[in-house]
């Protein structure tokens, strides 16, 4: 049996679309040709659609969680330890408008390679280095997934979620997520949602989930393996996303933090933005990568002393200059106690 056949024999029964009946397309081939020819700017066209799609996904999630926008930041099944209640009507104009982080070097930023190598060489221990405990603990705040957009895709609101996650090496643990006030990418969105209030997750009410056992792959201890995890082959935007994933899931030891910075230094396209202050008010040093194909800039902010990732953000570089997503990593530790 060939490798292809073995793969099919194993995966085939698990194919979620194996017996799916596909409805005929809503648009004819001619309709699509008209659409293709009438929208010659793929980037603008493509950018407008994900918001609507994600709004649909968000609706599914909201329905599934009976009013709460529940997401699990790990693998495996989860059990909600108590059912959330349906959210209140969103109060008039709560929350703030996001403003992009200010860079020390706004223009003519130079390649980040040398600065990242220098940072890797000088980092010191983080408060958690050397600590032991059954659970890795993380607290982080996310905005930008999911989002809800107006029917025309112009006005956007995103729930801000705080996550506290305790997870053992076998995957077992606990997650507490709390919806915070929504945030908006611009004032026009805030004004729109003020006059179009909708159902939101219950603000300030924690939702506790039990994380089951599962397989948590350890971080590679060698640079080649780390480059694989960081998906270096896919370019700067993918690497930034993976670094955010790594720091949100693992308690990253000092040596690996340095290796991550060195791997990042070797990824073309990152530029040095110098000293910044993140949304939590912490001083950091920043690099950015311009994903020109998608008109998006990815920002990574590192602790200048320990090399930990403090924040990741995405900023649209078209005329809107919106912040489209961010993650703040607020705490990392090891502990024996579940919160």
């Amino acid at each position: 049996m060939s490798g292809e056949q073995r793969t099919r024999a194993l995966l085939g029964p698990a194919d979620p679309a194996r017996d799916a009946v596909i409805a005929p397309p809503r648009l004819s081939a001619h309709d699509l040709i008209v659409r293709a020819e009438s929208a010659p700017e793929p980037l603008r066209h493509r950018r407008a659609r994900p918001a609507r799609r994600l709004a649909v996904v968000a609706a599914v999630v909201v329905a599934a969680a009976a009013g709460a926008t529940a997401v699990i930041h790990t693998f495996g099944p989860v059990r909600a330890d108590h059912a959330p209640v349906a959210g209140p009507r969103r109060p008039a104009a709560p929350g703030s408008v996001l403003v992009p982080v200010a860079y020390q070097f706004t223009t003519d930023a130079h390649p980040a390679e040398a600065e990242l190598h220098a940072l890797a060489a000088r980092i010191s221990d983080a408060p958690y280095d050397g600590r032991t405990g059954r659970y890795a603990y993380h607290e982080y705040k996310d905005w930008g997934s999911p989002i809800t957009s107006s029917p025309d895709g112009r006005y956007v609101v995103g729930e801000t979620m705080d996550f506290k996650v305790w997870q053992a090496d076998d995957g077992a643990g606990r997650q507490i997520q709390t919806a915070l006030e929504p945030q908006y990418p611009d004032q026009a969105s805030r004004d729109y949602w003020e006059s179009h209030p909708g159902t939101s997750a219950p603000i300030g009410q924690p939702l506790t989930m039990t994380l089951p056992r599962g397989h948590l792959t350890p971080l590679p201890s060698n640079t080649a393996g780390l480059a694989d995890v960081l998906d270096v082959r896919s370019g700067g935007a993918a690497v930034a996303k993976q670094i955010s994933m790594v720091y949100g899931r693992y308690v990253v030891p000092r040596r690996t933090r340095a290796d991550i910075l060195r791997v990042l230094a070797g990824v073309p396209g990152f530029v040095w933005r110098g000293n910044v202050v993140d949304r939590a008010g912490r001083a950091g040093v920043a690099v950015t990568f311009d994903d020109r194909e998608h008109a998006e800039q990815v920002l990574l902010i590192f602790n200048p002393t320990t090399g930990e990732l403090l924040a990741q953000e995405m900023i649209r570089t078209d005329t809107s200059k919106w912040v489209s997503a961010y993650r703040l990593i607020l705490a990392t530790d090891r502990t024996d106690q579940l919160g």
Binding site: R49, V57, V78, G214
Partner: protein, 180 residues
């Protein structure tokens, strides 16, 4: 392989009818959202018309490649964290380690193990296992050589095997991959 044939509306209608269901299923396997999958498929064919002179006669791997890039764009553009998974998606894993028939446990375990692999490992396994592409076709989707795809598939299978071996499942219920 000769140059692509005539690329007119008739040609486009033929590949649309023939390949649309495959592209929708590609989306369903990755999005768990029928509506979004249909939208994705239509977007793929919009791209195919715009770039019709690049579409090879055997078009399906090329179309999968477009779908893959569109999905990557969507996730890159809208997500900071790839490990964020909507609760609704967790349904596929809810049977792991729970009582049930061997077949059910096997399916859920394969999906759960698959979800622990890297994006690239998952994609090559899905392309071969679910889209039923050959290694050469998979290489076309991923934009690499056939040799590189074969090596990647071999390694991904080993990692899937390891992930499944480490999962706790009911007695006798754990499927295993033969080593190649």
């Amino acid at each position: 392989m000769g140059p692509p044939g005539k690329r007119d509306e008739d040609w486009f209608s033929r590949i649309y009818v023939a390949e649309y269901p495959h592209i929708v299923k590609y989306g369903q396997r990755r999005l768990a959202d029928a509506e979004a999958s249909a939208e994705l498929a239509q977007e793929v064919f919009v791209v195919a018309w715009r770039r019709r002179h690049e579409v090879p006669d055997h078009s399906l791997p090329w179309l999968y490649g477009v779908a893959r890039r569109l999905l990557a764009n969507q996730w890159r553009a809208r997500r900071t964290a790839p490990d964020v998974q909507p609760l609704a998606d967790a349904d596929v894993m809810s049977g792991v380690g729970s009582p049930g028939s061997d077949a059910t446990v096997g399916v859920t375990d394969v999906r759960a193990a698959l979800s622990t692999l890297s994006d690239l490992d998952q994609e090559i396994l899905r392309l071969v296992g679910w889209e039923e592409l050959t290694v050469a076709e998979t290489a076309q989707v991923l934009g690499c050589t056939r040799t590189a795809a074969a090596v990647r598939l071999h390694r991904a299978r080993k990692r899937l095997n390891a992930a499944m071996s480490s999962r706790a499942v009911g007695p006798g219920a754990q499927p295993a991959l033969a080593q190649s």
